[in-house]
């Protein structure tokens, strides 16, 4: 089993969910068990609860997002919170206001929780130092996307019963991926063995020190894996500077039936979305209901975010 290195680049702060690096094993268990109760609620006909009635949740998205933003919005509403989503395109930020000033302004409105997505790594940490409420990181730069990793863990547990002892391959653009980093920390913490599979130009420096095995060959990396996690490859990285072309990438790193044979027969396919069909994943595989749990990830995402909102809303 891969070991978790003790070194922490960022100090722990129990009042906020800034990253998987900042939370403990009991914290994770609490979130996951809480989320399980919400799965049932979300599948019932009356989905509303009043756990967060009277609480105010602000979604502060500095980067475009469809699924994460709507997932957080829905999660808050189902718990009865008053949810406000800030549209940054029209806001003062575009007029030159700094993150700290925005934080001060919002803080004056007494929110109970702020959900933030920002293109700069560490932006949620900065925000958390300046406000009196809890901060949940919905993705910062290349650093972390903790709720995505938590919903991935919940999806795996839902299907496989546990994470411990499983072999998980994370494939694709590891360099630019916060999802990969959060998943590496979380899956390691939960006792899985983690492989990362990517072309050398899309691997961050010293990634092996995060407790993973590194592969540049899909079949070797997927060998006997229980979970195959694909990552999105952004368009601007496909041509020339990191990779020669999308078709060369697909040839060597796209998930196809043939490459999937290396993994276990019952291996699950995951993807945080949005997918580039025919670039990182074969379109039939993405839709294969026996293998792909991509839609289930989206469903459980709401449950995990409800659990996070409930737990962190009470922290301050």
């Amino acid at each position: 089993m891969a070991t978790i290195k003790k070194l922490k680049a960022v100090k722990k702060n129990p009042n906020h969910l800034l990253g998987i690096q900042d939370i403990s094993f009991p914290d994770v268990n609490k979130i996951l068990s809480e989320a399980k109760t919400f799965i049932k609620l979300n599948r019932s006909s009356s989905k509303k609860s009043d756990l967060l009635r009277g609480k105010t949740q602000i979604n502060l998205f500095f980067e475009p997002s469809t699924r994460t933003q709507s997932s957080f919005e829905l999660a808050g509403k189902r718990l009865g919170a008053d949810v406000m989503s800030m549209n940054i395109v029209n806001s003062a930020i575009k007029k030159g206001e700094t993150l700290i000033d925005t934080a001060m302004t919002l803080n004056a409105m007494h929110p109970d929780i702020i959900v933030i997505r920002h293109g700069d790594s560490g932006a949620p940490n900065l925000l958390s130092q300046k406000v009196n409420c809890s901060v949940i990181n919905a993705g910062d730069g290349r650093r972390e996307h903790p709720t995505q990793a938590l919903l991935d863990a919940l999806t795996i547990i839902n299907r496989k019963g546990k994470v411990e002892g499983l072999k998980i391959a994370i494939c694709g653009d590891i360099l630019h991926s916060r999802v990969a980093r959060s998943n590496i920390y979380l899956m390691n913490m939960l006792g899985a063995e983690v492989n990362v599979v990517a072309p050398k130009t899309l691997l961050p420096h010293s990634i092996e020190k995060l407790g993973v095995k590194v592969f540049n060959d899909m079949k070797k990396g997927l060998d006997k894996c229980d979970i195959v996690m694909m990552l999105r490859l952004q368009n601007e990285r496909m041509h020339g500077s990191f990779l020669p072309s999308p078709r060369e990438y697909y040839e060597y790193f796209g998930l196809t039936q043939d490459k999937l044979l290396a993994a276990k027969k019952d291996a699950l396919i995951m993807h945080p979305g949005p997918m580039n069909r025919g670039v990182e994943i074969d379109t039939n595989l993405a839709d294969d209901i026996n293998r792909s749990v991509i839609r289930e990830q989206v469903e459980l995402g709401v449950a995990v975010r409800m659990a996070c909102l409930k737990i962190y809303c009470k922290k301050i």
Binding site: Q21, G122, R143
Partner: protein
């Protein structure tokens, strides 16, 4: 001015590597008349002023080769008066100014302005540099000859590197004919593009784009290749990585003639200190690993690196109260340069004489200025220090106009008691 006798002191003169108990005589012109063990209470003339230093250390005033002042253009970050106050509180009596102002120091009239402001508003000796290229554009060289005539001591693009090899080759060729000192900030722009901190495990964990050591090493290797062909006075402004040190050590062993500097920040801190995205530790060159830091420390001992600089770069709150990627790089340091450097002596990393030399006589030699010495006849620019006195760095007590110190609340040992410039006491800690 009366003759002054500083007695009962430990006199360290790095120029002739002496360290002895004795005294120092400042003549009525503000020059050093005599120093060392021969100056005792017995030979004091009756009408001279006598100062008993009670065993404290006297060293030459520090010569800081890398200082940014906000004039002109960024007066809100630092002006000559605040810079001067910070410098003398840190025992720095001579400062070499970087040309990255607005406008850039790249022509003769700007030099006149600087010298006038420096003379009128500051107490320290100001040594301005001019840019290597016009407006630091990296393409057209400045008027080396005319600028030197006006008193420019060195040429550098400061925070920028001359990227184009052909331009750099010509600059070094031309500089060799004018005997100009060329100072390069070594960082390849393509390799470091978008980079924020050292490339490695920490950059991967923090999700910040890294600056590989190769960005530095490749420029040093390039320039040292040019140096074989164009033998100018060449100085590497700041080195940050072990791999670059290896290149420099080998080149010096091969008897290439050039010098190199290091920032006190890179000698004292490493990438772990960045912690929770502390923007005050966003520096250029970036803080690197502990292994790199140790290599830099050792290179002071063996002479691979000649000079320690403060890399004093004042930044206002608006430039630092931002996310790590938006924040401007740089930290203040002129006032804490000496105590922070003394830390390396107290923890037995560097010998005291090497440390003092790299802050005083070595930079003076590189610049070819008559400073950093206690020899008879030189200006009495002195720093009196209590090497053991402990204190805590408090941001708000620092004299610089900007408060972006990277070592807030750090416990240091060694405090400047008095600073003299041309025989006149300009700072007294009591």
């Amino acid at each position: 001015m009366k003759e002054q006798y500083l007695i009962n002191a430990r006199i360290i003169n790095p120029v002739n590597d002496t360290d002895e108990i004795g005294g120092l005589i400042i003549d009525d012109q503000g020059k050093i008349k005599a120093s060392g063990k021969k100056v005792t209470k017995q030979n004091i003339s009756t009408n001279a002023e006598k100062i008993d230093l009670q065993g404290k250390i006297v060293i030459p005033g520090l010569v800081d080769m890398r200082v940014f002042v906000g004039e002109p253009g960024f007066e809100y970050k630092e002006n000559f008066r605040t810079l001067s106050e910070a410098a003398i509180a840190g025992g720095v009596t001579s400062a070499v100014l970087m040309p990255n102002t607005h406008p850039v120091i790249d022509n003769v009239s700007m030099v006149d302005f600087l010298k006038r402001r420096g003379r009128d508003k500051s107490k320290i000796n100001i040594f301005p540099t001019a840019s290597l290229t016009k407006n630091t554009n990296g393409i057209e060289m400045t008027e080396f000859g005319l600028l030197m005539k006006k008193g420019i001591v060195a040429f550098t693009d400061g925070i920028k590197t001359v990227q184009n090899p052909q331009v750099m080759a010509r600059i070094m060729n031309y500089a060799s004919q004018c005997n100009s000192l060329v100072m390069q900030h070594p960082e390849d722009a393509f390799l470091s593009e978008g980079g924020l901190i050292n490339e490695g495990e920490i950059s991967t964990r923090l999700g910040l784009k890294g600056i590989p050591y190769l960005a530095e090493k490749i420029i040093v290797e390039r320039d040292l290749s040019f140096l074989e062909e164009y033998k100018c006075r060449y100085h590497i402004a700041q080195v940050s990585s072990k791999k670059t040190i290896e290149v420099i050590r080998k080149a010096k062993h091969d008897e290439k003639i050039f010098t190199a500097g290091v920032s006190i920040n890179n000698l004292s801190l490493n990438e772990n200190d960045i912690g929770d995205f502390k923007t005050f530790l966003k520096l250029s060159p970036p803080l690197r690993t502990e292994d790199d830091r140790m290599s830099l420390v050792n290179s002071i001992n063996d002479g691979t690196i000649d000079v320690i600089v403060s890399d004093h770069k004042p930044e206002d709150e608006e430039s630092k109260r931002l996310t790590f990627s938006q924040a401007t790089a740089g930290a203040t340091g002129i006032e804490t340069l000496l105590p922070l450097a003394l830390n390396l002596f107290h923890n037995k990393s560097v010998k005291l004489n090497k440390l003092i030399a790299s802050l005083t006589s070595n930079p003076a030699k590189v610049l070819k200025i008559n400073k950093g010495t206690l020899n008879n006849g030189s200006d009495a620019d002195l720093c009196v220090l209590d090497i053991n006195k402990p204190f805590i760095v408090e941001k708000n007590l620092l004299k610089s106009k900007s408060k972006n110190t990277p070592i807030e609340n750090k416990k240091l040992q060694g405090k400047v008691l008095k600073t003299y410039i041309k025989g006149k006491m300009v700072f007294d800690n009591n």
